[in-house]
């Protein structure tokens, strides 16, 4: 019994020592990061706001992105994050610190992205975040960096032609998406099914649990291109820009992000990112070109529908 107690005590001491050893280097890093030894080489800086203090001290951005939403945030075949949103985040890291690697990407989902931002787990979220009036009450938006439209994905033999044919049908979308709120407000004679991921929603349409998947055009086009048994109806609705999600009250963060977006728009970098992602995902160039109107360009800027609440506007159906 005595030997057993000695063994347990020794084990506890070993565990405590390991924990202390594990904690020590990160404590040292935080102290050392405040005074960087060598400044990274930055690209020519236009007049932009200062980087927020906590990001500057950390030496990298921590950004929430999607990991299951091609072609904006997904994991490629090599296991690395890729996508339009991810490339925007990487460009932010490059503009701030001179290197695309000064970035930590955190996977978020539609329902988890705003709580993840509010809990300060991430600095900002670049995660297919459409502007809605309800969301502006909890977070702040940057200026737009993309504009998506809602579309309907149906099986090839479906009788649904437009958004007006949805009476009595089951509409599937992801939890917390603006389409869920719009369906609840404007399609009271349809059944709404909310699932946690876009992939499950596509499965629901394929196996007949739902009649249609209401979602963003870019994702649905990718699905329809790869799965020949599904197609999109022709109508488009709820064309609302996306923004970077920022905590309310963080003026310095918002100023920096807006400045970066303006810089990228002036240098037509969004179109370059879009083409790069399209190439890497194997999309035909005609498809990529058809999407060039959805990104900010020197002669193409988007504004949010301020003062309006498209999600409760049932006249667009």
């Amino acid at each position: 019994m005595r030997r057993l107690s000695i063994a347990i005590a020794a084990l506890l001491v070993a565990v405590a020592a390991l924990a202390a050893w594990g904690a020590a280097p990160s404590a040292g890093k935080v102290a050392g990061g405040a005074t960087p030894a060598a400044k990274p080489k930055l690209p020519p800086k236009p007049k932009r706001s200062k980087l927020p203090a906590e990001v500057r001290q950390r030496g990298k951005w921590v950004v929430g992105v999607k990991c299951d939403f091609a072609p904006f945030g997904f994991i490629d075949a090599g296991g690395k994050n890729d996508g339009y949103d991810v490339e925007v985040a990487r460009r932010f890291a490059q503009l701030a610190f001179g290197s695309k690697t000064k970035l930590e990407l955190v996977c978020v989902t539609t329902p988890s992205r705003i709580p993840t931002l509010q809990s300060k787990r991430v600095d900002i979220i670049v995660s297919t975040l459409t502007w809605t009036k309800a969301r502006t009450e909890v977070i702040a938006y940057s200026i737009p960096y993309y504009s998506a439209t809602g579309r309907l994905l149906v099986p090839n033999n479906s009788s649904i032609r437009t958004v007006r044919n949805l009476g009595g049908k089951t509409i599937v979308t992801t939890r917390g998406a603006l389409y869920a709120a719009w369906t609840r407000n404007c399609f009271k004679d349809s059944k709404l099914l909310e699932v946690d991921s876009p992939a499950l929603a596509v499965s629901a349409v394929k196996n007949g649990t739902a009649d249609t998947f209401m979602f963003d055009d870019a994702f649905l086009l990718g699905v329809a291109t790869q799965d020949r048994t599904l197609k999109l109806t022709n109508d488009k609705f709820l064309a609302i820009p996306w923004g970077v999600g920022i905590r309310k009250g963080e003026g310095a963060m918002a100023a920096w992000v807006n400045g970066a977006i303006r810089y990228m728009r002036a240098h037509d970098e969004f179109a370059k990112i879009l083409k790069g992602v399209g190439r890497r995902t194997g999309a035909p160039s005609s498809l990529i070109n058809s999407f060039l109107g959805t990104v900010p360009r020197p002669n193409n800027r988007f504004t949010y529908p301020f003062g309006k609440d498209p999600v409760s506007d049932c006249t667009s159906r």
């Binding site: 539609t110 329902p111 705003i114 709580p115 509010q118 309800a134 909890v138 599937v172 939890r175 917390g176 869920a180 709120a181 099914l193 909310e194 699932v195 946690d196 499950l200 499965s203 629901a204 196996n207 007949g208 649990t209």
Partner: protein, 228 residues
């Protein structure tokens, strides 16, 4: 105290109808699940206890598969796997998927509960019944089931409570029961504290009521002291 003050009670009052609808769906699925698992438990438990050929082995396989896999995986299989079976896709309504998953899960655990209960009936009782001329089935119905069922009651209470709580996992297939309602609401309004307080109280109330009811039944059916 400030936590109570910061809770948005108006929000809770405004959405009570949604929570009530979700609770009704939970109770519907749990009710069918509990009743079904009771029936499965008695039938398959009896088959296992009496070592009926074929059925006993099949029941053993069923119990092992269900007990050794996570219920979430079972729910996903029934909802997304069955419709994609290559030779014979099975399409079920969402409500059917819901009660079927929890019933299959509860039935496996209950089978073991009742098997143990039936096997605990002293052999002399069954032999006495046979000696008195009762057939196999009559022995079971008049001797083994009443006594073995009462022995199995406390452990099956655990199973029924777990069936009720496991209905919360049906969020995964989008079935709008209580947890799903809360989760959907949270995704749109971000009022997590208020929503999860309501969910906590609702589940606590329902599960406590269920176990109190069953304990009442158990008290009324209590076996007399077996000090013969």
């Amino acid at each position: 105290m400030s936590l109570l003050a910061s809770i948005d009670w108006h929000f809770i009052r405004e959405h009570l109808p949604d929570f009530w609808q979700g609770l009704k769906n939970t109770l519907k699925v749990a009710g069918i699940g509990i009743a079904g698992s009771l029936a499965i438990g008695i039938l398959l438990g009896a088959a296992r206890a009496h070592r009926i050929p074929v059925i006993s082995q099949l029941a053993a396989a069923y119990v092992e598969v269900i007990r050794n896999t996570p219920i979430l995986v079972q729910i996903f299989f029934i909802a997304y796997g069955l419709p994609e079976l290559p030779w014979h896709p099975i399409h079920l309504t969402q409500f059917t998927q819901a009660w079927l998953s929890v019933m299959i899960w509860g039935g496996a655990f209950n089978t073991e509960n009742f098997r143990a209960g039936f096997e605990a009936v002293p052999a002399r009782f069954r032999e006495a019944a046979r000696a008195l001329g009762f057939g196999q089935v009559a022995t079971f119905v008049n001797v083994t089931l009443p006594i073995g069922g009462r022995i199995a009651l406390p452990s099956s209470i655990n199973t029924y409570i777990s069936v009720l709580k496991n209905t919360s996992l049906l969020t995964a297939i989008g079935y709008v029961e209580l947890t799903s309602t809360g989760y959907n609401l949270e995704s749109e309004t971000f009022k997590a504290t208020e929503i999860f307080i309501v969910l906590g109280i609702a589940y606590l109330a329902v599960v406590w009521t269920l176990s109190a009811l069953i304990r009442l039944v158990e008290a009324r059916l209590a076996l007399p002291e077996r000090g013969r």
